[in-house]
Each structure stands twice: as structure tokens, then as C-alpha cells.
């Protein structure tokens, strides 16, 4: 098992309101090659608080990768994405859109908002697991990410 680039585990933020999907992602990452820690947030407002280290998230870690669902309570994934990508402290974090939507307009809109990639959740379990592993493999092992910014300026 490899560890994260600065020694600790890779930190992944999963923004997903469906507990079934959260569990499936957990299951898929559990036996992965890379030591990782999955933080789960269930709505868009909380996700932004986490990322901005506000309130109860004052000590939250800056994730190395964000897995973002589009249809979220309170603040939807498109808004969360727009806020991340217009924040100089957060915009370098790769955001992987992981959603049920196959809609062309969702795909175009999220890439326009600088999503790093767009993935439709497969219905088949084996394929879902393969997709999560592929995300892990690509973004955490193959891709060279910018160094972790330690503090918000």
C-alpha cells in the first residue's frame, strides 16, 4: 500500500447524500491500493463549511481529491463546484463529478465550471467498484498533483 504524497493517507472528500452510495464508495475504497481516508459530507452547505474550515470544521483537513454528486440538498453540486473553482485556495483540488445524470447539459455545464472530470455512476456493482478504483488509481497514483497548500492565505 502506498501512502499519500506528504506521508499521511490520501484525504478524499465525498459529497454525497445517499447513504447507499456512501457505503458502496467505502466498500470500493476499502481494499484499494492506496491508503486513504474518506470524509463524507451530506449536503452542499456543509461541504463548503468543511472546505472553508468554518464552524465545527475549523480543524478540517484540506482534501487531496473531491468526489462530488450533483443533486445535493441545500446547495447543489453545481454551486459547490462553482464556489470551489473560484476560490484561489481550493481551486487546485481535483473535483470528480460522480452522478446518476447522463444529461448532456449537466456534462457541459460542469466542465464549463472547471470540473476535472465527469463520471456517470454505473448501475452494475462490479462496474461501480471498477470506476471508484479507476478514480483512485488515476487521480491518486498516476496524476501529479500540486503540493498541498498548508494554510489559507
Amino acid at each position: 500500500m502506498t501512502s499519500g504524497k506528504t506521508g499521511g493517507p490520501i484525504e478524499i472528500l465525498l459529497v454525497e447524500d445517499n447513504p447507499g452510495d456512501v457505503r458502496l464508495t467505502h466498500e470500493a475504497l476499502k481494499d484499494g491500493k492506496i491508503l486513504n481516508k474518506l470524509h463524507v459530507i451530506k449536503d452542499g452547505v456543509e461541504a463548503m463549511a468543511f472546505l472553508r474550515q468554518e464552524g465545527k470544521y475549523a480543524n478540517a483537513i484540506r482534501p487531496d481529491l473531491i468526489l462530488l454528486d450533483l443533486n445535493l440538498p441545500k446547495k447543489d453540486g453545481r454551486e459547490v463546484l462553482a464556489e470551489i473553482k473560484s476560490d484561489s485556495y481550493l481551486k487546485r483540488i481535483p473535483v470528480v463529478i460522480l452522478t446518476v445524470s447522463k444529461l448532456e447539459e449537466d456534462i457541459i455545464k460542469t466542465y464549463d465550471l472547471h470540473a476535472n472530470c465527469y463520471i456517470t455512476k454505473p448501475i452494475d456493482l462490479d462496474r461501480f467498484i471498477a470506476v471508484v478504483r479507476a478514480i483512485e488509481d488515476f487521480w491518486l497514483a498516476i496524476v501529479k498533483l500540486p503540493p498541498r497548500a498548508l494554510k489559507r492565505k
Partner: protein, 373 residues
């Protein structure tokens, strides 16, 4: 119309009287006026439509019938008349004696004397208030229909989209159950798991097809000039595997260019050719496509040598999720979807077939592209 002057013989007088009777009994308002707009004749039709009697109105200016914001119409019309021009079926609004607005269609012609000089105008006015009201009503009904159609499509779309999520849960967790506990369960339990997974997969297909069906109208692209030869090639390329596996032979006559949503037209060709292969007989499938002009439309045909269909099922096959062969995979949405596509293009689709002797599907496309719905 010319007015003769004096010296009429009896025959001419009788003819004039008959003419006067016709004018008098006409349903339309027939009004004579001088070039300055003064009314000089007024038939019963005019009285019925406008409410003024001949005695009341003869000698008055024609502008009495006109709304204040339209008064510029009169000099415009009369200027044309002075130059000998006729005005045909000009639709406008006039005001009756009781102040009510009347929709009318006007035909105004110059009246000439024997020396061909324009001396006045004859106006024939038809009351089209009722027609206008019907048109308005039709417009309203159409708008209402469009709105409820759009709502229905939106509903089908949202329903099918939102149904995917829980279905993924059922399917994923049943599969996870199978993965983790397969060896710890007995044969019955494995059967049950398989049924659940199959059911979920089938439901998924049905939802996807319902989604595709509802999106024909909402997600369709505007019509553009589309070369059907290229459409044919694209459909065949998409079916490459099935064609090779079945050793199917594809032939076609020269195909025209039509106004269409190219992606949707590819779907139509692909579905019909795909069906021809799917419902093949013992012989390797032979599919022939052609297009014949018929007045203002093209009639496309897709002919196969497959198993054919009994006539009592000709209508049923175009209804969504209606299937004839449970042993052939599919949900039975394909023909329903392409029927909607053909109809969106202003065409229609039908089948001619004999059991065991193959089928020919026909669909029409307008020659001149109509505006996209």
C-alpha cells in the same frame, strides 16, 4: 364595376334590377361610396353587420364605422382606389352602431364611369368575428395542448430520472450480497438473488427506454438538411456487429436529402434495420431500403425477409412496451420511440407484412422541411 349612363332598354333594366336584388339579399355588407368616403349605397347585409339602416347612414362619411386609432386606413384605401387599385380580403376591425367591434374582411374595388374614370368605391365586407373567435379558441387550445404535452414529457423525464437512484441501490446491494455471501447461502437463496438482480436490470432498461421516449420531443434538435445516404451509412456502422454475426446483406436505392434531426433519423434507420436482423428467419437476413417520391413527401421503405408479423398486430407493435416475442431480448420501446420521431418530423409510419414472408416498414418524410416542433 362600371355604371352605364342613361338610355337603357328593358332588358338592361331588368338585368340591373336582378343585380340590385342580389346585392340587397347578399349576406355580406355591400357599400358604395364616393371618392371622399361619403356613403351612397347600403344593402341589408351592411345593416345586419353594422346595425345602421340605409336611411340613417347614406350621406354620412364611411369613417363613422372606424375606430379612432384606425382612421388612417380610409385615406390609404381610397388613395389606392383613385389609382385604380383593388384591395382583396383585407382583415381589419370596424365598429357597429352599438359600439361593438366587428372583425371583417374587406374587398374594395374602384367604380369607374364609361370613360374608365374612377368615380367611387364599392366595398364588400364579410363579418369574420366568428371565424376570428374560433381561431383564437384554436390558438388557446393549441397553447394549452403544447403546455400539457411539455408537462407530460417533463413528468416522464423526472420520473424516470429519479427512479434510477433507488433502483441502483436495489441492484448494487443485491449484487454485493451475492458477492459476500454466495458460498454461505443455499441454491434457493442464489436463485432469489438472481431474480432480484435480473428484475432490477430489466427495470433499469424500461426506465431508460421511457426516458428516451419522453425525450424525443424535449431533446430533439432543430431540423437541418440531412443526407439519407449518410444516415444509412451511420446506422449500418452502428449495427456492424449484428450485421456481421448474422451475415446480413444490406442493399439500398439512392436516398434523398430531407429536413431532419440527423441523430433521430439515424435512430429510425438503425431501429428498423436492427429489427429486420433481430427478427430474422432461417435464411441470412436481406434488408433493402428505398425511398419513393409521393406528391409532397418521400415514402421510405425498409424491406426484410424475416419472420413477418400477423396483421392483427400491425398497430400493437408501435405501442410502447408491447412485445410479440418474449424469447427475443428487448423491452418493446424501439418502434414506439421511432414512431414519435417520425411524427415529430411530420411523417407517419406503418407496416405491411405476411407471417413467414418478411415485413416492409414504411415511413414518410415531408419533402419540404417543416418547422421544428
Amino acid at each position: 364595376m362600371k355604371l352605364g349612363i342613361g338610355g337603357k332598354n328593358k332588358q338592361e333594366q331588368e338585368a340591373l334590377l336582378r343585380l340590385a336584388a342580389i346585392v340587397e339579399s347578399a349576406d355580406d355588407a355591400i357599400i358604395g361610396e364616393k371618392l371622399d368616403g361619403t356613403i351612397i349605397s347600403w344593402n341589408q347585409g351592411a345593416e345586419r353587420i353594422y346595425g345602421y339602416s340605409a336611411d340613417e347612414i347614406i350621406g354620412k362619411p364611411i369613417s363613422i364605422l372606424i375606430e379612432p386609432d384606425r382612421t388612417e386606413e380610409i385615406p390609404k384605401i381610397l388613395d389606392g382606389i383613385k389609382r385604380g387599385q383593388k384591395i382583396d380580403h383585407y382583415e381589419t376591425v370596424r365598429v357597429g352602431k352599438d359600439g361593438k367591434k366587428i372583425n371583417i374582411s374587406l374587398t374594395v374595388s374602384p367604380i369607374k364611369d364609361a370613360s374608365d374614370k374612377v368615380i367611387g368605391a364599392s366595398t364588400i365586407a364579410r363579418d369574420i368575428t366568428e371565424r376570428k373567435r374560433m381561431e383564437e379558441e384554436l390558438k388557446k387550445t393549441m397553447a394549452e395542448l403544447e403546455r400539457s404535452n411539455a408537462e407530460l414529457e417533463r413528468f416522464a423525464y423526472v420520473a424516470s430520472h429519479d427512479l434510477q437512484e433507488p433502483l441502483r441501490m436495489v441492484s448494487s446491494y443485491t449484487q454485493l450480497l451475492e458477492k459476500r455471501y454466495k458460498d454461505k447461502l443455499d441454491a434457493d437463496a442464489n436463485d432469489f438473488i438472481n431474480f432480484t438482480v435480473d428484475g432490477a436490470k430489466r427495470m433499469q432498461q424500461l426506465i431508460n427506454d421511457l426516458l428516451a421516449y419522453s425525450r424525443v420531443g424535449t431533446r430533439g434538435k432543430p431540423f437541418e438538411l440531412t443526407d439519407c445516404e449518410a444516415v444509412f451509412e451511420a446506422a449500418v456502422a452502428n449495427l456492424d456487429m449484428a450485421i456481421k454475426e448474422n451475415k446480413a446483406k444490406m442493399t439500398h436505392d439512392p436516398l434523398p436529402t430531407v429536413m431532419a434531426d440527423e441523430g433521430q433519423l439515424v435512430e429510425v434507420f438503425q431501429n428498423l434495420i436492427g429489427n429486420a436482423i433481430k427478427f430474422r428467419g432461417k435464411q441470412p437476413p436481406r434488408v433493402h431500403i428505398s425511398a419513393q417520391p409521393d406528391k409532397d413527401k418521400w415514402v421510405f421503405s425498409v424491406k426484410d425477409n424475416g419472420i413477418g408479423i400477423e396483421p392483427q398486430y400491425f398497430d400493437r407493435i408501435f405501442i410502447i412496451f408491447q412485445r410479440l416475442h418474449s424469447e427475443v431480448p428487448g423491452t418493446g420501446a424501439g418502434l414506439a420511440i421511432i414512431k414519435r420521431i417520425v411524427e415529430r418530423h411530420g411523417g407517419r409510419i406503418w407496416i405491411e407484412s405476411q407471417l413467414g414472408k418478411g415485413s416492409t416498414f414504411y415511413f414518410t418524410m415531408p419533402m419540404k422541411g417543416e418547422k421544428s416542433s
